[in-house]
């Protein structure tokens, strides 16, 4: 057992920190902040390409697919250092952390060769087409239909909560190909280029003021037979595989929670109460709450390392525990941040602008306990798959 970096890991961590210091500069952040929409995606494509060239992106992928065959521990170092450096959200995470690992496991040789390098380097942006307005948590009942006609699949239906769909190149779409079989045995996964005729993408307004996700309407959308990933009618295992990787991917939020804890301490240290007589960090109630979230942040980081050592390459149902814990913690911590802001002197314009940022981040945290399987669904998964309780 070793809870510190090995010599090799320590050297790699230094390399990552140095690289981030050289590349994630204040100027880069200013340039990034000035972009939006399609321009932002292009900016981040460049960033992903640079991460790839530096050997930081997709490090644990097999070398054959553009990775370095590195142990998961090194990928965790990258995620941890990115979190510590307050790196911007990774828009490529869907392709890199969810779809690509599934492609490695279940897709054809040809699909691996065609898609994996581009995902790794950030040349293509990917989105997921799973949830529908009537079928979210109950995913296997989905009704988007794909019918084979003259050698092509014709797809009709509607998807929702499709993150980055308005800017993505591809969608990994789940559709029904068999209405006779039990619901979860009649689904097929397709790689659908989002430029295909018949696709109408409409952004949805989120409560945090952003528009990162969409409704997608599919009207006689045609894709070739080689767009099928895995087996026809075998889409459920594709979906489950992706969801396992998604839960693990979301769990790197644990590193962000520890970084958030450091930021909350800093805020409490520099911020005074409204009467100006005390710093927030000297208030017993504040110390108690900060201690509580600090303990949970430590748990989240330790869990990342312990579970990675347990499961290795293949994430199992234990990722549901990580996802549930870190996303709820993230929400609790943002609520605490807003409380700290509320205790400060909001007549001060600087405090007010900080308050606005935290307010937006607090609202964003509500999405994480819902996306990737709600906290309630995670509890079902934990109790059924890890504890063996009856469905």
């Amino acid at each position: 057992m070793r809870l510190t970096d090995s010599t090799q890991e320590a050297e790699f961590r230094t390399y990552v920190r140095d690289w981030l210091a050289d590349n994630l500069t204040d100027q880069w952040r200013r340039d990034f902040g000035a972009t939006e929409g399609r321009e932002r995606i292009d900016f981040l494509k460049d960033w992903q390409g640079r991460l790839f060239d530096a050997g930081l992106a997709v490090r644990s992928w097999p070398a054959a697919f553009g990775g370095r065959d590195a142990p998961l521990a090194e990928s965790l170092i990258v995620f941890e250092e990115l979190a510590n450096a307050d790196a911007p959200p990774d828009v490529f995470r869907i392709g890199v952390r969810i779809i690509a690992p599934m492609i490695m496991e279940l897709a054809s040789e040809d699909q691996r060769t065609r898609f994996l390098p581009h995902i790794a380097e950030g040349l293509n942006l990917w989105s997921q087409g799973f949830s529908e307005p009537d079928n979210g948590s109950d995913l296997s009942a989905l009704t988007t239909r794909a019918i084979l006609k003259n050698g092509k699949y014709v797809i009709n239906g509607q998807k929702v909560w499709n993150t980055y769909g308005h800017l993505a190149d591809y969608c990994l779409l789940l559709a029904r190909t068999n209405t006779e079989a039990p619901p979860h045995k009649g689904l097929t996964a397709f790689i659908v280029p989002l430029s295909t005729r018949g696709i109408d993408i409409r952004p949805l307004r989120q409560i945090n003021g952003q528009q990162d996700f969409n409704e997608i309407f599919l009207d006689d959308v045609e894709v070739a037979e080689d767009a099928v990933v895995g087996e026809v009618d075998g889409g459920w295992i594709v979906a489950m595989t992706m969801l396992g990787f998604e839960r693990r991917g979301i769990s790197v939020l644990g590193f962000a929670c520890r970084r958030l804890f450091q930021r909350l301490i800093d805020v409490a240290r520099v911020t005074s109460t409204r009467d100006g007589k005390q710093r927030l960090i000297d208030l017993p109630g504040v110390r108690e709450k900060l201690t509580s979230v600090g303990i949970q942040a430590r748990i989240a980081v330790l869990n990342n390392h312990r579970f990675a050592a347990m499961s290795g390459g293949k994430p199992g149902a234990e990722t549901s525990m990580q996802k549930l814990h870190t996303t709820e913690l993230n929400k609790t911590m943002h609520a605490l941040a807003l409380d700290l802001m509320g205790k400060s002197d909001l007549t001060d314009p600087h405090a007010r602008s900080q308050f606005s940022e935290w307010e937006r981040d607090y609202l964003t945290s509500f999405g994480m306990t819902i996306a990737g399987g709600t906290s309630q669904i995670q509890r079902n998964i934990i109790s059924e798959r890890l504890l063996g309780l009856p469905r």
Binding site: T4, Q262, L389
Partner: protein, 364 residues
């Protein structure tokens, strides 16, 4: 990082679990509860023979020369089995004697500890004893584990005379009844016996040759906190298993109660809490052995969470059992009673969260 047991450690775990399954069955524990003996000597001897009593004793003194992680592996198994043996006290004392004792003191005690021939108790961490204006040793503590049956009592004394705030001597008392008043500390925990209220009456025992500085005192505190936390983790694992089993067997409204989300979600939250505790506990035990400067914070975190999670799981186990959970006909109550005491024995409740709050900035 490689946050997993080595093969050797896994083997030690398998050994501890099968030893406890053989030598500390529930029938044994219940019989102990109804009886009078100090502790289950057969189990104590089995632990000694397997090298566990000597986990922190050097091989040159008949021990296994292992670390707190390995002692913790044994403690988890013992806690899960509600074992009526004073393993943690004795282990902490063995560590102190090994570090501070003269050759004569080490020879006098260590091999006997490793061989299971003596057991120990310890006071003064937290709340060190002090010397009054006449130089007599003063201190009062309750509840003290193994107070009534220990062969040795170690007393940690604050050395205020040296002018150094962080200097402690450690006295060994062999004739406990001559040096202290020991009153029985009554508890409903029948899985252990001999808890006492100890008052020093002036006689000092013999000081160990070496003394503790601040780091040494902190190490002792970490051993006791992490050791208690891993023992409580063992109990928590068992009560979750008990609750889950009942939820799968008990049928109401035409289905097992575990099919209902209220029960499912309670157990899911318990498992998440338990796994979080496990990460903290192992990290604390590892730190004691490998990163001593991190150990005090790590151990306080583990114990603070154990105090909360172990009680939550033991209590919810009773809740999930419904009416029968409130009877002494099933074993659920044994775990709750043990947890309640575990939350007091190594310091008052809240002492560890207080420590963390005082060191908040270091937690970041």
């Amino acid at each position: 990082m490689q946050f997993s047991f080595t093969e050797d450690q896994q083997m030690i775990r398998d050994t501890a679990e099968s030893l406890v399954a053989r030598s500390c069955q529930m029938t044994e524990v219940r019989a102990f509860g109804d009886g009078q003996s100090d502790f289950v000597d057969a189990l104590w001897q089995d632990l000694a023979k397997a090298g566990f009593n000597g986990a922190l004793v050097a091989e040159s003194h008949g021990g296994s020369g292992l670390g707190m992680l390995e002692a913790g592996i044994a403690l988890e198994a013992l806690g899960g089995a509600l074992a009526p043996v004073p393993f943690l006290s004795t282990t902490a004392v063995a560590d102190l004697i090994g570090r501070l004792g003269s050759d004569e003191q080490k020879s006098r005690y260590l091999s006997k500890i490793a061989a299971g021939q003596i057991s120990a108790a310890i006071v003064g961490c937290p709340d060190p004893a002090h010397r009054d204006e006449n130089g007599a040793l003063r201190g009062q503590w309750a509840p003290v584990a193994n107070a009534e049956s220990a062969d040795l009592l170690l007393v940690v004394v604050a050395d205020t005379a040296t002018g150094d705030a962080d200097s402690y001597s450690v006295n060994v008392i062999e004739d406990i009844k001559d040096s202290c008043t020991v009153e029985t500390f009554d508890t409903m925990d029948r899985t252990r016996r001999g808890f006492g209220a100890i008052t020093l009456t002036g006689a000092a025992g013999v000081p160990l040759a070496g003394s503790l500085d601040g780091d040494g005192y902190a190490r002792l505190g970490a051993i006791l906190a992490a050791g208690s936390a891993v023992e409580m983790l063992g109990g928590a694992v068992q009560v979750l298993e008990m609750a889950k089993t009942y939820a799968m067997e008990r049928v109401q409204f035409g289905r097992p109660i575990g099919a209902f989300q209220a029960i499912k979600h309670m157990l899911a939250d318990q498992l998440v809490a338990l796994e979080g505790l496990r990460s903290l506990v192992w990290a604390a035990l590892w730190a004691i052995d490998n990163a001593p400067e991190e150990a005090p914070l790590a151990a306080a975190t583990a114990k603070a969470v154990a105090d909360q999670v172990a009680l939550q799981l033991a209590g919810e186990n009773i809740q999930i059992h419904g009416g029968i959970g409130f009877t002494a006909d099933i074993d659920a109550h044994l775990y709750v009673k043990r947890v309640q005491l575990d939350r007091l024995v190594w310091g008052p409740p809240g002492i560890h969260t207080d420590f963390l709050e005082a060191h908040l900035e270091e937690m970041a």
